[in-house]
């Protein structure tokens, strides 16, 4: 019965089993290189050494939005093609995306502390990330609230797409709101043309974190597929035991 449906995921499992060790190694290497380069980068004349938090904060902020994009693609896969791997991909990505968003918030807060004197400022960028975090949590709550996995996948897919449409609107609104109430944000990375000394470590860290996402995502997808297999086996067991004569 459902074992036939998991044929495609079986190929996925064997493929990722071979791929993951390499991905993990590449991620680790790139992260090390990135961190070294970040440490070696010069201090900002204004912010001192604390500007280097940017090398973690900015990639995490990019990834928080990128992961929602990945989930949106998976959502299309669920709604349009009803592909079982799409369900798994979406479900596995949500907590990882939430974690990246949370890291972006924490590093953003630590970055701003020396300048603001407080751990939080309602500036446009951080506020947008906070709202995104709330949306991630709401999505995870929806995943957990619906019992049946395929129904949960479809409900989550609709919410993901609605969220994707709303994110630009929310970003625009928050920017607008911020310029209305506050002077210009103090969290500037250094203007439109980033100095090469900052740009290269930033890009390396961005790629490293992206690889980290891919590695974690594939691993989480494997876990989810295995979890579903266990559930299917358990249900078969229940069905068989109820068919046996009392």
């Amino acid at each position: 019965m459902t074992l036939i449906d998991l044929a495609n995921p079986t190929r996925f499992l064997s493929l990722t089993a071979r791929l993951l060790p390499w991905l993990a190694a590449a991620t680790a290497i790139l992260l090390l290189i990135g961190l070294y380069q970040s440490a070696m980068a010069p201090d900002d004349y204004q912010q001192g050494a604390t500007v280097k938090i940017m090398f973690i904060h900015v990639p995490n902020a990019w990834l928080s939005m990128f992961v929602w994009g990945v989930m949106s693609l998976a959502a299309l896969g669920t709604l349009v093609w009803r592909h079982p791997l799409a369900d798994v991909a979406a479900k596995a990505a949500a907590p990882i995306g939430a974690a990246f968003t949370f890291l972006a918030l924490v590093t953003g807060s630590l970055w701003g502390r020396p300048m603001w004197g407080t751990y939080w400022e309602w500036d446009a960028r951080l506020t947008s990330v906070l709202i995104l975090f709330l949306m991630y949590l709401g999505l995870i709550a929806l995943w957990r609230a619906v019992e049946d996995p395929s129904r949960a996948a479809r409900a989550a897919a609709i919410l993901t797409l609605v969220g994707a449409i709303n994110l630009p609107i929310i970003k625009f609104s928050v920017d607008w709101w911020n310029t209305l109430h506050q002077p210009a944000s103090v969290m500037r990375i250094g203007g439109p043309s980033l100095d090469r000394a900052f740009l290269i470590p930033l890009l390396v860290m961005a790629v490293a974190f992206s690889l980290l996402f891919v590695t974690l995502h594939l691993a989480a997808m494997r876990n989810e597929i295995l979890r579903r297999r266990v559930r299917a086996l358990q249900m078969m067991q229940v069905a068989q035991s109820s068919q046996r004569p009392a």
Binding site: L79, I131, L134, M135, L137, G138, A141, L142, A145, V146, D148, S150, R151, R154, A155, I158, L159, L161, V162, G163, I165, N166, I169, I170, F172, S173, V174, W176, W177, L180
Partner: protein, 222 residues
């Protein structure tokens, strides 16, 4: 068309006949406004300055709490089964239900605003500005909230989840609703800019809301 009118009429009839009807939402709105001075202090100048914000928050929460039953009641008595499979496109049906809900729950809030404005010592300009922005913005709250109501229809503890899902999506409406009100009161930004964005948000929700809600209802019945 007859079908949609029949649906709107039915929903309005039920809303007006069942326990409190439209007045419950207004009562909640009043309660929230009354709670504010206890939290913030009775300083009238402060309350006036916060006035548009308090009224908007009250309207937002009042809308949210009544959205819970939008589809739930029909789901529980089996009407939703018949509505989803009828000849009328489900998107139009959802839009009709949202319209009925706004007429029964959102519009009374707008009408109650002048009275509540008195409690916050808002002058005529301020009150009419807030009322006008609520008139333009509460439809957006209903049509966006409908998506959460449709997603949560089959869940028994849907109320809180609905709020968590819908509130982030309602933030732009809140921002521009309050901004437009304050622009009318104090300037420096003109009233027109945020108000037209508010209207645009409502119009966008008229399209996205019914489509997303219809899709959610269909998958929810499976």
């Amino acid at each position: 068309m007859t079908a949609l009118i029949a649906l709107i009429r039915r929903d309005l009839r039920i809303a007006l006949r069942v326990g409190g009807g439209a007045l419950i939402g207004v009562l909640f709105f009043l309660t929230v406004v009354v709670l504010m001075p206890f939290a913030v202090g009775p300083d009238l100048a402060l309350l006036t300055r916060l006035g548009p914000a308090i009224l908007w928050l009250g309207a937002l929460l009042a809308s949210l709490l009544t959205l819970d039953r939008l589809f739930m009641a029909d789901h529980e008595d089996g009407s939703l089964d018949l509505i989803v499979t009828s000849r009328t496109p489900l998107e139009l049906t959802c839009a009709a239900k949202a319209l009925a809900h706004w007429l029964a729950a959102g519009l009374p809030l707008v009408i109650a605003t002048p009275v509540l404005g008195l409690l916050l010592n808002l002058d005529a300009t301020a009150t009419s500005a807030v009322a006008l922005t609520l008139l333009a913005g509460t439809p957006a709250l209903t049509f966006t909230g409908m998506i959460g109501a449709a997603l949560a229809v089959t869940l028994h503890r849907g109320g809180l989840l609905l709020a968590v899902l819908v509130l982030p999506l309602s933030i732009p409406v809140l921002i521009f609703g309050v901004a437009a009100s304050e622009a009318a009161i104090t300037g420096p930004v003109s009233f027109g800019a945020p108000f037209s964005i508010l209207c645009a948000l409502s119009l966008i929700s008229f399209v996205i809301g019914p489509f997303a809600a219809a899709a959610s209802l269909r998958q929810g019945l499976d």
